[in-house]
């Protein structure tokens, strides 16, 4: 049940412009008339690879997978690396549990994804492309394969496609089995048939990626915006979202956002970056359910941050969310009402992060376990005097030693909790009570001083 939410008319549609209301795919000729593959024809007929990358650079497109790396930089780097073979890998694994933004995109508009892959491959000079999709998304896999077959039949991609001008083989590969597969180097290891553990960067995958060859790895959502940029021009794309300032990188374009929790209408919506969180909940999610009051929002999936009600004026873009201690991540916004406990939520999300750590870096493997233990002690009321400082110290160590974004983001649920819900932590630690009534901390009487003990013994 992947619900697509109605958004205000003033919000531009980039990735979901062509989807039908009932979720059925248009037959190929009608999809072509609606604009599919127009950008690909335009690119191959009229543009050189360099112009395409310049176009993407002017648009200021940034990776939608979470890190927000500038796409054009990756493309230049991949194109500039000498190699006999280059790959394009589209990441449609969608690791965050409970999220279905990428699935919705791949199911409703597979042509946009495949076309984006093709344009990226043309720009960097790749002849092989792999779309890695979560094996659980049977429908998305079927539709992507169908879209590739139709494009091959029409002579758009495949061997000697576009009147014998170029060769591009696109393959859909189902992957499954670990949360970390959403990370680019881990996904590449999985496609090589190895244990999925992240690699040290640099060298970036754009220089040495799949089977040691330069590989362009992008989220499917990033690639799906590429045809739109080519058709409508970079200026139109840069006009959406937040502009580039002197010091800010700017977050142009739109993002698929998933609303869940205590909202009236949960589902996926395409939101221009730079919209405030409150506005998204109000205008896309239809506000909160009746009779509940917003307490916090988990922004960015299980590794995201807990943001309190008074930070709902934050804008949805890469930088401002990072500064607030959350992350754009998969674009998931889970809204919680007054019945939620920030300490308990932080603890459970941290446990998820610790469970899914691959174990390659030791601060991540052991540090996250220790963080869970500290958070467990908070929730149970068995805290030790130094626990708070230890938690912050350890979190900073884990973040500093980060090999991949998993451990850089993993302490966020606890750190943002401590930052915004300090009073709630104090209530657990010092008073032994949980204001939301979720945890059952035990008050421990302060231990008797030596003099008192002596008095008791002599009495």
């Amino acid at each position: 049940m992947a619900t697509l939410l109605q958004t205000p008319r003033s919000w531009p549609k980039v990735t979901l412009g062509r989807v039908t209301a009932d979720g059925e795919l248009l037959p190929f000729p009608r999809a072509e008339r609606a604009g599919a593959w127009a950008a690909w024809r335009q690119v191959v007929d009229r543009e050189s690879p360099d112009t395409v990358i310049r176009l993407i650079g002017q648009a200021g497109l940034r990776g939608r997978g979470g890190a927000g790396f500038r796409a054009a930089d990756k493309w230049w780097r991949c194109q500039a690396t000498e190699s006999s073979q280059r790959y394009v890998v589209a990441n449609g694994f969608e690791a965050d549990p409970g999220t279905f933004t990428d699935r919705l995109l791949m199911e409703r508009d597979p042509h946009a994804v495949i076309e984006g892959v093709a344009i990226a491959a043309y720009a960097v000079g790749a002849t092989k492309a792999i779309v890695a999709v979560n094996a659980g998304y049977a429908r998305a896999i079927e539709r992507l394969r169908g879209a590739i077959a139709q494009a091959e039949e029409a002579g758009l991609v495949g061997i000697d496609a576009m009147d014998g001008g170029l060769t591009l083989e696109i393959e859909v590969r189902p992957v499954q089995g670990a949360f970390l597969l959403g990370e680019e180097t881990v996904l590449l290891r999985a496609l090589e048939g190895k244990r999925g553990m992240p690699e040290q960067r640099p060298p970036y995958p754009a220089e040495r990626g799949l089977f040691g060859k330069p590989t362009l790895v992008h989220n499917v959502e990033t690639l799906a915006t590429v045809p739109w940029i080519v058709t409508n021009g970079p200026a139109a794309f840069a006009a959406i979202g937040t502009a580039r300032g002197r010091e800010k990188a700017g977050s142009p374009g739109t993002k698929l956002v998933q609303l869940a929790g205590a909202v009236a209408r949960p589902g996926v919506a395409e939101v221009p970056l730079g919209t405030t969180l409150g506005e998204i909940v109000e205008r896309a999610g239809g506000g909160l359910r009746d009779g509940v009051k917003l307490k916090l929002a988990i922004v960015g999936g299980p590794l995201g941050g807990l943001l309190p009600a008074d930070r709902m004026d934050l804008t949805l873009d890469f930088e401002s969310l990072r500064e607030a201690g959350a992350t754009l991540g998969s674009g998931s916004i889970v809204v919680a009402d007054e019945s939620a406990c920030a300490v308990d939520l932080g603890r459970l999300l941290e446990r998820f992060a610790s469970d899914e750590a691959c174990g390659k870096t030791i601060p991540c493997r052991i540090g996250l376990k220790r963080l869970v233990e500290i958070a467990d002690r908070f929730a149970a009321g068995h805290h030790r005097p130094q626990d708070r400082e230890l938690l912050v110290d350890l979190s900073n160590d884990v973040i500093a030693s980060g090999l991949c974004n998993h451990e850089r983001l993993a302490p966020d649920p606890l750190l943002s909790g401590l930052r915004y819900f300090a009073a709630e932590y104090d209530a657990h630690i010092h008073e032994g009570r949980c204001p939301a009534g979720v945890c059952h901390p035990v008050t421990v009487a302060p231990s008797a001083t030596a003099a008192e003990k002596k008095a008791r013994v002599s009495a």
């Binding site: 992957v175 089995g177 670990a178 048939g193 929790g261 999936g301 299980p302 889970v334 603890r347």
Partner: protein, 277 residues
């Protein structure tokens, strides 16, 4: 830029001159001997005897004794076809038996060695043929093997290792990393629980704690007697009002921590065999 001719040479000679008067670093070895740590074992190399034959008996005791399993022995077979690596520790005893037989001329049984169950490699050979014996397709090979045999038997992994040339340790590493690959036949009943933020918020954490306590294992895992396995599943937003719980793949509504613990306990009890007092 202005340079004085011969300046570089002068600098070099100055260094030589300084070194000339310094204490010498060379140790006059047979006469003078340095203090060496008692833990020092010298360089790890295979020694040759005076006839040029390897002194290594391939007894595998070094590989078995190595606490971090970093010693691994390998080479090519006599026809130069396969790159062979001796893989898991349980194999070492098997090799030691061979070695002992060769040296003493009589079989020396090893009680610590438990041989793994043999399998019919027919289906596996067909899978390997399909995948072109390519270690790059390892995940596909393993997934198909699991589909054919129900799980990944040790014998299958060994056979894959020999056929593709990939190290056993590497294949084992891959197979043990991915949650959907398993080394034992699946348990009879499965309870799945979603761990997404939304389900957590709705009380998934408490369900998980109750379930883990009742099943005696942590979430992706199988209960000790093997009757019940717990799976981490994904709700994909299908369950907006309560935590997403499944029993054998079917969604279940209205689950509380107490009822879930009761369910897990009853499933485990149903599989228990009557014991004797």
């Amino acid at each position: 830029m202005f340079r004085i001719p011969g300046m570089g040479l002068a600098k070099g000679m100055a260094t030589t001159l300084i070194r000339f008067f310094e204490r010498k670093a060379t140790v006059q070895y047979p006469e003078v001997r340095q203090d060496i740590s008692p833990h020092h074992r010298g360089r790890l190399v295979l020694l040759y005897d005076e006839w040029g034959a390897l002194k290594c008996e391939t007894c595998f005791q070094c590989a078995q004794a190595c606490p971090i399993e970093c010693i691994d022995m390998g080479g090519v077979d006599t026809k130069n076809r396969y790159h062979i690596h001796w893989g898991p520790p349980e194999q070492y005893a098997e090799r030691r038996e061979e070695s002992a037989l060769r040296r003493s001329g009589r079989p020396v049984p090893d009680r610590t060695f438990i041989p793994f169950d043999p399998i019919d490699v027919g289906p596996l050979d067909r899978i390997l043929e399909e995948e072109d014996y390519d270690p790059g397709h390892m995940l596909a090979i393993l997934e198909k093997t699991q589909a054919a045999y129900g799980h990944l038997p040790v014998a299958a992994l060994k056979h894959i290792s020999h056929a593709t040339g990939a190290w056993y340790a590497e294949i084992y590493g891959t197979a043990s990393y991915y949650e959907h690959l398993r080394f034992e036949l699946p348990a009879g009943r499965r309870i799945g629980l979603c761990r997404c933020p939304s389900c957590t918020l709705l009380g998934g954490g408490r369900l998980r704690e109750a379930l883990e306590a009742a099943a005696g294992t942590s979430l992706p895992g199988t209960s000790p007697e093997g009757a019940l396995s717990l799976e981490a599943i994904d709700c994909h937003g299908d369950s907006p009002t309560e935590p997403f719980v499944t029993l054998d793949g079917e969604a279940r509504q209205g689950v509380t921590p107490a009822s879930l613990a009761e369910l897990a306990t009853s499933l485990r009890a149903a599989a228990a065999r009557p014991g004797r007092a």
